[in-house]
C-alpha cells in the first residue's frame, strides 16, 4: 500500500492525477468554505447580476438567474462524486458475486448468469440508462439506480473471466479436495485473486461513472434544478452559445478535469498492480 503510494507520487503524470483528484474531492467536501457564494447552490435569483461574463467577483461568470458559476461547479463536484461512489459501491459487489459464481460453478448457473449479463451488455451502455430514466422520475436516487443497472455487468464479466481461469488452479482443486463449500471457495479462495483487478477497474470507472451520469443529466434525465449538476449546466448553457460561452465551457472543463484526474490515477494503479484485463 505504502509502496504503491510512493510510486504514484514519484511519476509526474500520476502525481498530477493525484493532485487533480485531491482538488476535486477536497473542494467537494469543503464546498461550504471554498465556494464564494455557498447559497448559490440553491434557488437564489439575482436579476441584476445575471448572465455576466467572468469578472473579479465571479471568476467564472454568473448564470442566467445571476448565480455564481464557480460556486455551483464546486457543489456539482459533490453530486458527481457521491453518485460515482454510490454507483460503484452497489454495482461492484453485485457484479462480482454474479461473475464469481458463474465462473466458478459453471454449468447451467454459468449459462443463465452470463446470458443475463450479455443481455445487459448488448444494450449500448448509455441507451439502457436513458431508457430507464425515461421510465423513472428524474431524481439523484433514480439516476444512481439507472447507472448501476448498466454498470454491474462489466464487473460480472471481469470477475467471471478471472474466476474461470482460476477454477482449474491447484489451490482451488486443493480446497475442493478437502471439502470446502462452494461459497467458501468462491469468496475466500478466488475472490482475493480478483481484488487487484476490481480495485483498478473501480478507480478507472470512477471517471466513467461521472461521464455517464453527466450524460444523463445533459439529456435532462438526471438530477433536477436547482441542484447544481455539471451535465445539466452544459446542456442549459449550450442554448446560449456562442454569446454566453462561460455557461458551457467551465462546467465542461470541470468534468474533464475530474475525470482526467481519476483516469491518470487509475492508469498508474493499473501499471503498478499489474492487473491487465
Amino acid at each position: 500500500m505504502k509502496r504503491t503510494l510512493v510510486i504514484l507520487l514519484r511519476n509526474p503524470l500520476s502525481l498530477i492525477g493525484v493532485i487533480l483528484v485531491a482538488l476535486v474531492v477536497l473542494s467537494a467536501i469543503f464546498a461550504d468554505f471554498i465556494a464564494p457564494f455557498p447559497e448559490h447552490r440553491g434557488s437564489v435569483v439575482d436579476f441584476v447580476n445575471f448572465n455576466k461574463a467572468p469578472n473579479a467577483t465571479n471568476i467564472m461568470g454568473t448564470d442566467l438567474v445571476g448565480r455564481d458559476l464557480f460556486s455551483r461547479i464546486i457543489y456539482a463536484f459533490r453530486i458527481s462524486l457521491v453518485l460515482g461512489v454510490v454507483v460503484l459501491a452497489i454495482a461492484t459487489p453485485i457484479g462480482t458475486l454474479v461473475g464469481l459464481f458463474a465462473g466458478y460453478v459453471g454449468g447451467k448457473t454459468e449459462f443463465i448468469l452470463m446470458r443475463l449479463t450479455d443481455v445487459f451488455l448488448s444494450i449500448p451502455p448509455l441507451v439502457l440508462a436513458i431508457a430507464m430514466m425515461g421510465v423513472l422520475e428524474p431524481t439523484l436516487m433514480n439516476a444512481m439506480l439507472a447507472v448501476t443497472a448498466m454498470w454491474w455487468p462489466w464487473y460480472a464479466r471481469l470477475v467471471y473471466n478471472i474466476a474461470r481461469s482460476e477454477r482449474e488452479e491447484g489451490y482451488v482443486l486443493a480446497a475442493e479436495v478437502i471439502g470446502a463449500s462452494t461459497p467458501h471457495i468462491a469468496l475466500r479462495e478466488i475472490l482475493p485473486n480478483c481484488l487487484p483487478a476490481i480495485l483498478t477497474k473501480m478507480t478507472l470507472d470512477m471517471g466513467f461513472v461521472i461521464i455517464i451520469a453527466s450524460s444523463l443529466s445533459f439529456l435532462g434525465l438526471g438530477v433536477q434544478p436547482p441542484t447544481p449538476d455539471l451535465g445539466s449546466m452544459v446542456a442549459e448553457g449550450a442554448r446560449y452559445l456562442p454569446d454566453s460561452w462561460w455557461l458551457t465551457v467551465f462546467p465542461g472543463l470541470a468534468i474533464l478535469i475530474a475525470v482526467f484526474g481519476f483516469n491518470l490515477v487509475g492508469d498508474a494503479l493499473r501499471e503498478i498492480l499489474g492487473a491487465d484485463q
Partner: protein
C-alpha cells in the same frame, strides 16, 4: 462444418437469445412507465372515451405477458406498431432515421481506427520518448470527457469561433438529393452531385469527430499497450537483433498480433458510440435515430421506444458478430480449435 462456420452458428444462436432477452427487458421497462400512453398520444383535449378506445386497441388493458405476446406476434410480421408521436409505423420512422445515425457512427468509427491505431503504433514505437508521452497524454484527455463536452467545445471552436464547419444538420437546404441508401455521403455520389457531397461531408466532420474523440483515445491507448507487450516478445528482439528496420518491425511483427485485442475493444467502442450518438445528435441537431429516441422517451411513446432500443441493440450485436469473425480469421488459434470465450 468448418470451425469458423461453427463459431458463426454459435454466435448467431447466442445473439438471438440475447436479442429475445433485450426485447423482454425493454418491453418490461416500457410497460412500467408512469403515465397513460393513450392519454399522452391523444393530446390534452381528448375525451375519456377516446382514451379508453385507444387503450383497448393497443391492448393496454391486458396483462403484461399477454401484451408481450401481441408484441412478438407483430414483430415476427415485421410490425413494430405505430408511433404515437409521429403517427407513422415505427419501422418507417426507424428506416428514416437509422441511416443518419449509422452514417455518423460509421464515419466516427473510421476516424477512430484511422487516427487511433496509427497514434497507438507511433506511440509504441517511440516508447518512453516524447512523442509517446504526448500521445498518451492526449489520448487520456480524449477519454476523459463525455462526447457532448467535446461536441460543445468543437462547435464553439470550429463552428462559432473559427467558422469552418456548419453547426447543424446533415446537408444544406439547397440540395435535393434522392434518397437511395439514406447515407447522404453515398446518395450524393450516386446522384453525381459533387457539390452536395462536399457539403454533406463538411456537415458530418465535426459531429463525427466529437463522437470519435474518446474512441480515438481508447484505440490509441490499447494499441499502444498491446504493441508494447508484443515488442517485449523474444521474436521482436530477435528481429531487432537481425537489424530489421524499425518501421518494418512495427508493421510486420508487432502490429498484427496487437490488432486482435484492439479489434475487440473497437467493437465495444462502436457500441459506446451508438449510445453517445444520443448526446452528439442533440448538440448538432443531427436528424438521426438517437434524437428520435430521446424525443419518444420524453413522450412515453412505447412502440417507438421499444423499436429504437431493439434496433440499436441488434446493430450492436451485428457489429460484434463481425468483429468476432474478423478475430477468428486473424487468429489461427481460434480458427482451428475453438473453445471460444463466450
Amino acid at each position: 462444418m468448418t470451425p469458423v462456420l461453427r463459431l458463426l452458428a454459435r454466435r448467431l444462436g447466442i445473439s438471438l437469445i440475447v436479442l429475445v432477452g433485450v426485447s423482454m427487458l425493454i418491453f418490461g421497462i416500457a410497460r412500467v412507465i408512469p403515465g397513460d400512453p393513450a392519454r399522452i398520444a391523444l393530446g390534452p383535449n381528448a375525451t375519456a372515451e377516446q382514451v379508453d378506445a385507444l387503450r383497448e386497441s393497443l391492448h393496454l388493458n391486458e396483462a403484461i405477458p399477454v401484451q408481450y405476446g401481441y408484441f412478438v406476434k407483430d414483430l415476427l410480421r415485421g410490425d413494430l406498431g405505430t408511433s404515437l408521436y409521429t403517427n407513422r409505423p415505427v419501422t418507417q420512422d426507424i428506416a428514416q432515421f437509422l441511416p443518419a445515425t449509422l452514417e455518423l457512427v460509421l464515419f466516427a468509427g473510421i476516424l477512430m481506427v484511422g487516427i487511433g491505431l496509427p497514434l497507438g503504433i507511433w506511440s509504441a514505437r517511440y516508447r518512453g520518448r516524447w512523442p509517446d508521452h504526448v500521445i498518451r497524454l492526449v489520448s487520456l484527455l480524449g477519454v476523459s470527457a463525455p462526447s457532448f463536452v467535446w461536441a460543445v467545445i468543437l462547435m464553439l471552436l470550429f463552428a462559432f469561433f473559427l467558422p469552418i464547419f456548419p453547426i447543424a444538420g446533415r446537408i444544406s437546404d439547397i440540395y435535393e438529393i434522392e434518397r437511395v441508401t439514406g447515407f447522404l455521403l453515398i446518395d450524393t455520389l450516386l446522384a453525381g452531385n459533387l457539390a452536395a457531397f462536399r457539403d454533406a461531408f463538411w456537415h458530418i466532420v465535426l459531429p463525427a469527430f466529437a463522437l470519435a474523440v474518446s474512441g480515438i483515445g481508447q484505440a490509441a491507448r490499447l494499441t499502444r499497450a498491446n504493441m508494447v507487450e508484443t515488442y517485449d516478445k523474444p521474436y521482436i528482439e530477435m528481429a531487432q537483433a537481425y537489424g530489421f528496420r524499425a518501421r518494418r518491425i512495427a508493421r510486420k511483427y508487432a502490429f498484427k498480433p496487437s490488432l486482435i485485442p484492439s479489434l475487440t475493444i473497437i467493437g465495444l467502442d462502436f457500441a459506446a458510440m451508438l449510445g453517445n450518438a444520443f448526446l452528439v445528435e442533440a448538440v448538432f441537431a443531427w436528424p438521426g435515430l438517437s434524437r428520435y429516441g430521446v424525443a419518444v422517451i420524453l413522450r412515453k411513446d412505447l412502440n417507438a421506444i421499444i423499436g429504437t432500443v431493439l434496433i440499436i441493440s441488434a446493430t450492436f450485436l451485428i457489429v460484434n458478430l463481425i468483429v468476432d469473425l474478423l478475430i477468428a480469421f486473424l487468429n489461427p488459434r481460434i480458427r482451428y480449435s475453438q473453445r471460444g470465450s463466450s
